[in-house]
Every structure is written in C-alpha cells, then in structure tokens.
Amino acid sequence: QQQVKQSPQSLIVQKGGISIINCAYENTAFDYFPWYQQFPGKGPALLIAIRPDVSEKKEGRFTISFNKSAKQFSLHIMDSQPGDSATYFCAARGATGNQFYFGTGTSLTVIP
C-alpha cells in the first residue's frame, strides 16, 4: 500500500517559471509533512515542512499549500532556477513519530 502518492514523476520548467509538485495521502493520523530536495549522489535535504493545522507555509521561493480535507499538499517553487534542478520528495510522518513515508519523487529540470 502506497501511503503517499506523488505526481508528476518528472517536470520540466523554464527558468523563472513556477514548478508545482503534488502529493496525496490516506492516513489522517499523519501529523507532519516535509519536502526534501535531493541532488545526485547526495542524501535528501529538508527543504520546507508543514503541520496540518496550517494551510500554507512560505519560505523564500518555496511554498507548501496544504488541504487537510482533501488530504493533499503541494510544493510550489516560484521563479524556478537551474540550480533548483533536483529530485523532490514529499513525505508524511506516521502516527508513532518514528518513521516517514516518502513519495516516489519528482525529477525537476529547470531549463535556462
């Protein structure tokens, strides 16, 4: 059973455009939703995170939108840059607090 579903699998965006990656989850006990950025050969790095009592969180060019009733959350990257080209994973923390369930990842390519 896939706890967190992520789309699209890959995304190509022009420099300066908006990148949008979507995730959906089933388990209403999930209580913390981070996004990770991963460059080739590196581990995932925490980018931004949100808790379900907030509908939106913005940090610089990165925004998480959270829809609790729809059990969906998304990452928006404004003014996308070539340096943003990476794989992005959404995740959700399980009820025990001990593990995260990751989405399948989105490979983002920002074209100059």
Partner: protein
C-alpha cells in the same frame, strides 16, 4: 553546518557476505534512523533507534539486519548475509527530537554481486 557522516560511500560485496555500514550522527541528536533507496525508487524506512534500542522497524528490517550504537558517536547497520536485492543506497539520518525533521547523510551505495 553540522552533518551526518556515512562511510564508506560505496561498498561492493559478494552475496552471502556480511557488511557493516557506518554513520556518525550529529552530536546532540538523540534519534537515529536508517532508510534505503533502491535505484530510481522512493526512500524506504528501515529502522528508528532511540535510547539504545529500536523504537520501530519496517517489514524490510528482518532478522538479517541489525543496528548498534557501539559508542557515543557511531551508529551502524549490519546486514548479516547480503542478497542481490539488498543493493541500494542506504541513508542514515538523525534528529534532535521526535517532532523534528531529519538530517540525512550522503549515503552508502551498497552493491551486492
């Protein structure tokens, strides 16, 4: 910025051999984790460790796997008898508390031949 350090970066081993993957978590972190990522696939939880014991483990973490914190700084993952399907990138992570996001290491690429 504090880092989680993993060694080796790449390990090649023969099927059936034992391997130990090593991690040095961030010094003031209390929670430690192992995840793995099969090439091109999602990151999967293996085990969490707190207060010198396993707090949770996944179905992947069977009897072939074990973890240990042998001293105050290292956190190891042992695979007793490797199988071809154990080939993956193994990531160690740590966090200061349960309600925080993780800091991941750069991973160890394990190749079982």
């Amino acid at each position: 910025e504090p880092e989680v350090t993993q060694t080796p970066s790449h390990q090649v081993t023969q099927m059936g051999q034992e391997v130990i993957l090593r991690c040095v978590p961030i010094s003031n972190h209390l929670y430690f984790y192992w995840y793995r990522q099969i090439l091109g696939q999602k990151v999967e939880f293996l085990v969490s460790f707190y207060n010198n014991e396993i707090s949770e483990k996944s179905e992947i973490f069977d009897d072939q796997f074990s973890v240990e914190r042998p001293d105050g700084s290292n956190f190891t993952l042992k695979i007793r008898s490797t199988k071809l399907e154990d080939s993956a990138m193994y990531f160690c992570a740590s966090s200061p508390a349960m309600n925080y996001g993780y800091t991941f290491g750069s991973g160890t690429r394990l190749t079982v031949v």
